[in-house]
Symmetry: C2
Subunit: 198 residues, 2 copies
């Protein structure tokens, strides 16, 4: 007989499926939850139920929100003629935290990857091309600077050629606060090539 | 206006309170949950609700279980004359996973710490002394080998003196699979002092 009952065992197993938590940290998290039943465990159960019920995927851009179309797609103050294409909702959140972009988004839902079997058909590419044809003037490809991200960007550049829309990508270079000594050759080389006069 | 609605924001805030998850990994976890609503998010909400409702703290040993007294305290096959004192339920779980101990447990609920204001009154010390007086023959102090754990063990040794029960502690030494080169001086010194003839 195990010292851990089935209720706790099941909780640990589910927590261990979260990214960033392994079996050991899932046990710690479960124990912490059990110790903080009223201030953490029950509110978390409620927050999960609420979010699972309320959150929808936006039919236009693929963002997650309580409404579809999402608040970003419905916001009349956002520039509809500029689309920023991201791999994932997390990237959209990151750009919104930075507050640098005031246009609209398009969430692909991943990046092309032969290894993981992610083909263009599994990404929201068709809807991007449809949107590109509806009065869009610029499409910013904000993919990750990984092999998959850059492969996806190249693929999209080809796929979007027929629409005639201007396609741009984020600049590569030295991250703000970054030290040259710690940067890889690829970043340094990109930063050199894209150097600007002062 | 934030791109993250209040439901997701609240979920992220609660997830960030789990040990092992910071704000960034909580965002990743929330997003992962939202993408796996049916296979992960709803089952997790249910598991949390179930566990919060079902799990009690054992009135005898301080273990967490669906019943109080807990299954370990009620198991007639376990040796009631040997008590193993641990700081936390996680330590009890670890010992049960190892399957080395077939007596009963006593969970202190922490270790003495002047820094964190953990005094003997905040630990389950009184109930330990009461149990020690009821036909117990050996008390194994299985505290962590930290300053707090060892302080607690010394305190308990004094506090248990009046009961006349034999008090032991876990051996210190080289962990199984451990390489000497990577061990600290304290461990090496303890392993040397406790060396055994072959």
């Amino acid at each position: 007989m195990s010292a851990i009952g089935p209720e706790i065992e099941r909780l640990i197993q589910l927590l261990a499926k979260l990214p960033g938590l392994g079996p050991r940290s899932a046990r710690r998290a479960a124990l912490d939850l059990l110790k903080k039943r009223e201030v953490l465990m029950e509110p978390l159960a409620l927050a999960l139920t609420d979010a699972a019920r309320a959150i929808k995927t936006c039919e236009i851009c693929g963002n997650l929100d309580t409404a579809s179309p999402c608040a970003l797609c419905c916001d009349p103050r956002r520039e509809g003629r500029v689309l920023c294409v991201v791999e994932d909702v997390a990237d959209l959140w990151a750009l919104e935290r930075a507050g640098v972009f005031k246009g609209r988004y398009h969430v692909l839902g991943g990046a092309l990857s032969a290894l993981d079997g992610i083909t263009p058909e599994r990404l929201n590419v068709g809807s991007l091309i449809d949107r590109a044809k509806q009065g869009v003037e610029e499409i910013i490809l904000a993919m990750n600077a990984t092999v998959e991200g850059q492969t996806t960007a190249h693929y999209l550049l080809d796929a979007l050629a027929e629409t005639g829309v201007k396609v741009t990508r984020l600049a590569h270079g030295v991250p703000v606060g970054g030290e040259l000594d710690y940067l890889d050759e690829g970043t340094l080389s990109a930063a050199f090539k894209a150097r600007r006069s002062l």
